[in-house]
């Protein structure tokens, strides 16, 4: 059970670290991707493009190392739900955009695939969260 929780946590860490690096390297492209969702006031787009990839990176490192892993896995679940909501509204509104999840690609028409992929990521993150709390309850991790 301990190893199942670790594998799930490391998998989520890998996903978020892989997503963070291209966005850190191209903040302008990521800002463009955020603005195409047409959800946020224009003034918030650039600050979010600057800080969100680093939150993902710091959280990924926390999940990988196990330091603040509990908060990290809760945050990962919250972020994935937020991303799904953002993509869901884009799909519902018929926006032909690139999800921007793993950096700026310029490709479009893939939002539904990104939603399905994120549901898979969320399943892994929920498993990591459940296993973590189970470990805490059984006392194998100091509370």
């Amino acid at each position: 059970m301990i190893w199942a929780e670790r594998f799930a946590r490391w998998a989520v860490a890998g996903i978020f670290l892989a997503a963070a690096v291209p966005k850190i390297l191209n903040p302008s492209g990521f800002a463009a991707d955020i603005s195409h969702y047409a959800m946020l006031p224009d003034g918030l787009v650039n600050p979010l493009a600057v800080i969100l990839p680093w939150i993902e990176a710091v959280m990924g490192l926390a999940l990988l190392s196990g330091f603040s892993a509990e908060g990290g896995i809760v945050l990962a679940n919250l972020l994935l739900v937020t991303f799904l909501a953002a993509m869901g509204q884009a799909w519902f509104r018929g926006l032909d955009i690139n999800c921007g999840c793993f950096g700026h690609s310029g490709a479009r028409g893939e939002i539904l695939l990104s939603i399905l992929r994120d549901f898979g990521f969320l399943a892994v993150a929920l498993a990591a969260l459940g296993l973590r709390y189970r470990r805490n309850k059984t006392g194998k991790v100091p509370a």
Binding site: D42, N46, D96
Partner: protein, 159 residues
């Protein structure tokens, strides 16, 4: 639960702090204020409102370019627009290059704020050497033009 929330807040705070510091120290850091207009300016393009587009279209040397696909262009576009789909830049650019090279100002547009093709096209043009603010992005695009009840043209572009 309380511990999880505190850890989560700490991760968000550390990530935000590192992000802002990294951005401030990097040479190509994103402008935090000014939104899309500031980002485009950093890339060498400017953002235009509908009023500005209408003004500049009446000035000699202004060319307007539709960045959407040829199928979308055929269904309706801003009058006198050229068509250079950002997804298929090279062959379409070759057709209109002589006109673009003569232009003092090139305004690009697509389907409004949620489409990225006008920005992609602007970047391609800037990479071709159309710099010094010769490239402008009409961010509201065709929906903005139509909301103002301005006329549109239909049919293919014939150079």
């Amino acid at each position: 639960m309380r511990r999880s929330l505190l850890q989560m807040a700490a991760l968000v705070a550390i990530g935000s702090l590192v992000g802002l510091t990294y951005n401030a120290l990097s040479p190509g850091g994103l402008p935090l204020r000014g939104g899309t207009a500031a980002r485009l300016a950093q890339e060498g393009a400017r953002m235009m409102s509908l009023q500005e587009v209408r003004y500049y279209l009446q000035q000699p040397g202004t060319v307007i370019v539709d960045a959407r696909s040829s199928e979308e262009f055929e269904l309706g576009h801003i009058p006198h627009a050229l068509n250079v789909p950002a997804d298929n830049f090279a062959p379409y650019y070759a057709k209109v290059a002589p006109e673009l090279q003569k232009a003092k100002l090139i305004i690009v547009y697509c389907s409004g704020g949620s489409c990225g093709t006008s920005e992609e096209l602007a970047k391609e043009l800037i990479a071709k050497g159309y710099s010094d603010n010769r490239v402008a992005v009409f961010h509201d695009g065709l929906p903005g033009w139509m909301r103002a009840n301005l006329p549109i043209e239909r049919g293919t572009y014939k150079p």
